[in-house]
Symmetry: C2
Subunit: 324 residues, 2 copies
C-alpha cells in the first residue's frame, strides 16, 4: 500500500504534505470493513489528488500546514471520490480512472452505499476542524453538485442550449468543489476575507478550465490514457463546449446532429468527433479554458509571492495542458 | 401543502414544535428545483415524523425549544429520508410508505442524486447549530448505517447466523439514527453528560424495539396498512428475529428453509410465513421488543418528571403496538 504517489512535477515541493494527507486517507479507508476497503482501494489507486494538492499548496503559501490541513485535504479527496462513485452510477459509466467503475465490479447497491459511507466519513473528518463555516461551504458545494447533476442527466438530458447553460453546469459539477477546496484552505490558514474570496475565484476558474479541457479531451484525447473511448460525451447525448462551438458554425447540426438524434453507433460517433475537431471548435474551447486560467492567475496577485504561489500558478497551467 | 400532520395521539402536546420543524423541512424541499421537489413531496407526504417528534419532545422535557430544535428535527428527518431513498435503491424495494419507491417512479440515478442532495442539505442545516459534537454523532451514525447495510446486503446476504448478528444489524440500520436523535437533542438542550448518555440509551432501545416490531409486522401486518406484501423479508432471504426464533425450534429449517433455499413463489412464502407465525416466534420476538422498551424507559428515570417525559414513555409503547 505504501507506494510513492505519482504526482505531477510542479507538486514536488509540497509532496510531503500531500503524502501526509494521503496516508491519513489510506488509513481511514484501510480501516473499513470488506468489501468497502477493496472498493476504495480500487478507486484510490488511480487519481491525481488535485484537490488534496490544492489544499496543501494553499496552506504552505500562507506558511500553514500540519494535521489540520491533512484532515481537510483527505476529507476533500474523500468527498470528491464519493461524488465520482455516485456519478458513475447515475451515468452508468463503465470506466473510471482507467479501471472498471465500482458499480460494474461490485453492484449498483454497493456503489451507492460506498459513496454514502465516504461522504459521511468525509463530513465527520471535516467536523473535527470545528469550523461550521468550512462545513457550510462544502455541504453547499455538495448540494450544488447534486442539483447540477440532476439538471444535466434528468432535466435537459445534457442538451445545453447555450454557453450559459454549459458554464452553469461546469460550475456545479466541477468548479464548486475546487472552489470550496481553495476557499476553505484559506479559511483554515486564517487569511483575510479578500484573500479567501480570491482563493475561491482561483479554484472556481481552475475548475472551469478543468471541465472544458475534460470535454476537449473526450474528443481528441488518447483513449488509452483517458481510460475510455473518444466521443463518449456525444454518444451519451451530452452537448459540451466544443460541440456548442461546432453548432454555432453548423446550425443544422451536421454529423453531430445525427448522433444527437440517436444514431450512436461507432461510425456515426467517429464522424461527428472528426467534424467537431476539424471545425476549429477545439481551439476555440481551449482558448476559453486559457482565459479561465488567466482569470484564476489574476486572483493570485493578492497572495504572498513565494514558491508555493508559483505551484498554484503552474497547476492552473497543468490543468489545460494535461493529457488525461 | 399546509395540511395538518397526521400525528399519533400521544404527540398532541408537542404538535406545535413538530409542525414548526415540518414547516422548515417543507420550505427547504419546496425551494429545490424540479424534479427534486416533486420527488421529496412524494415521499414526505407519508412518514410518521418519529425522529422529528423525539427531538422536539426531548427538548420540551428540558424546557427547551425554538428554531434550533426545529433545525435539528428537520435535519434528522431529512437524513432519515435520504437513507430510505438510498436503501430502496440498494434493496430494489418497489414500495415505500404505501407509495411507489422514488427510483421506480423516476430512476435509480434520480434517486441516488435526490438522496445525496438531502444528505448534504441536512448536514448543512446541522452545521448551522455550530456544534461539531452533534455533527460527529450524526456522521458516525450515517457511517454505521451504510456499513450495516453493506454487511446485510452484500456480505452475508441478510442470512444472520445468530441473534447477535441480527441485533448488530438492527442497531446499525435503525437504532443508530434514533440514538443520535435523542442524544443530540439532549446536547442541544444543554443537559448533563449522564442525561445525554441516558437519552442515547432511550433512543437506542426504542430503535431496537422498532426494528423487531417492523420485522414482526412484515409477517403478520395488514398488507394494505404496511403498503407491501407480507413475508417480503423472507422473500428477499432476510433472516429476521422471528425467523431466528423459528429456526431455533425447527433446526432443519422446515417451510422457511425452502424459501431461504430459493423457492420464493407466493405459495412457498405464504407457507413459510404461516409456519413462523404458528410457531410462537412472533410472541417470543415481541417479548424481546418489550424488554427493549422497558430498558429504554429505565433510562428515563434520570429525566425531569413532567408531561413531556410521559410522551417519551408513551412513544416507546407506541413503537411496539403500532400497525404499520
Amino acid at each position: 500500500m505504501e507506494s510513492r504517489l505519482a504526482l505531477i512535477p510542479a507538486l514536488e515541493p509540497v509532496r510531503e504534505g500531500i503524502e501526509d494527507a494521503d496516508r491519513l486517507l489510506r488509513s481511514i479507508v484501510g480501516s473499513t470493513e470488506e468489501p468497502l476497503r477493496s472498493m476504495f482501494n480500487h478507486l484510490l489507486g488511480g487519481g491525481k489528488r488535485l484537490r488534496m494538492a490544492l489544499v496543501i499548496a494553499v496552506g504552505r503559501m500562507f506558511d500553514a500546514g500540519g494535521p489540520r490541513f491533512a484532515k481537510l485535504a483527505a476529507a476533500v479527496e474523500m468527498l470528491h471520490t464519493a461524488t465520482l462513485i455516485h456519478d458513475d452510477v447515475v451515468d452508468d459509466a463503465s470506466m473510471r480512472r482507467g479501471r472498471e467503475a465500482l458499480h460494474s465490479v461490485w453492484s449498483v447497491g454497493a456503489a451507492v452505499l460506498a459513496g454514502d459511507f465516504l461522504l459521511a466519513r468525509a463530513v465527520a473528518l471535516m467536523a473535527e476542524l470545528d469550523s461550521s463555516r468550512i462545513l457550510r461551504i462544502f455541504t453547499g458545494a455538495l448540494c450544488e453538485m447534486s442539483v447540477g447533476e440532476v439538471r444535466q442527466t434528468l432535466v435537459d438530458g445534457g442538451k445545453h442550449h447555450s454557453r450559459e447553460d454549459y458554464l452553469r453546469c461546469a460550475k456545479a459539477k466541477t468548479a464548486s468543489l475546487l472552489e470550496a477546496s481553495t476557499e476553505t484552505a484559506g479559511i483554515l490558514a486564517g487569511v483575510t476575507e479578500l484573500q479567501i474570496a480570491a482563493l475561491g475565484q482561483y479554484g472556481r476558474e481552475l475548475g472551469l478550465a478543468y471541465q472544458i479541457t475534460d470535454d476537449v479531451l473526450d474528443l481528441i484525447g488518447d483513449e488509452e490514457k483517458l481510460g475510455k473511448a473518444a466521443g463518449s460525451d456525444l454518444r451519451q447525448g451530452l452537448v459540451t463546449l466544443p460541440v456548442l462551438h461546432y453548432l454555432d458554425a453548423v446550425p443544422n447540426g451536421g454529423a453531430v446532429g445525427t448522433v444527437l438524434d440517436g444514431l450512436t453507433d461507432e461510425a456515426h460517433v467517429k464522424a461527428a468527433v472528426e467534424a467537431v475537431v476539424s471545425s476549429g471548435a477545439v481551439e476555440a474551447s481551449l482558448a476559453e479554458a486559457r482565459s479561465h486560467v488567466l482569470r484564476g492567475r489574476e486572483a493570485l496577485a493578492c497572495m504572498p509571492d513565494n514558491p508555493f504561489r508559483q505551484i498554484l500558478w503552474s497547476l492552473s497551467g497543468y490543468v489545460i495542458n494535461r493529457e488525461f
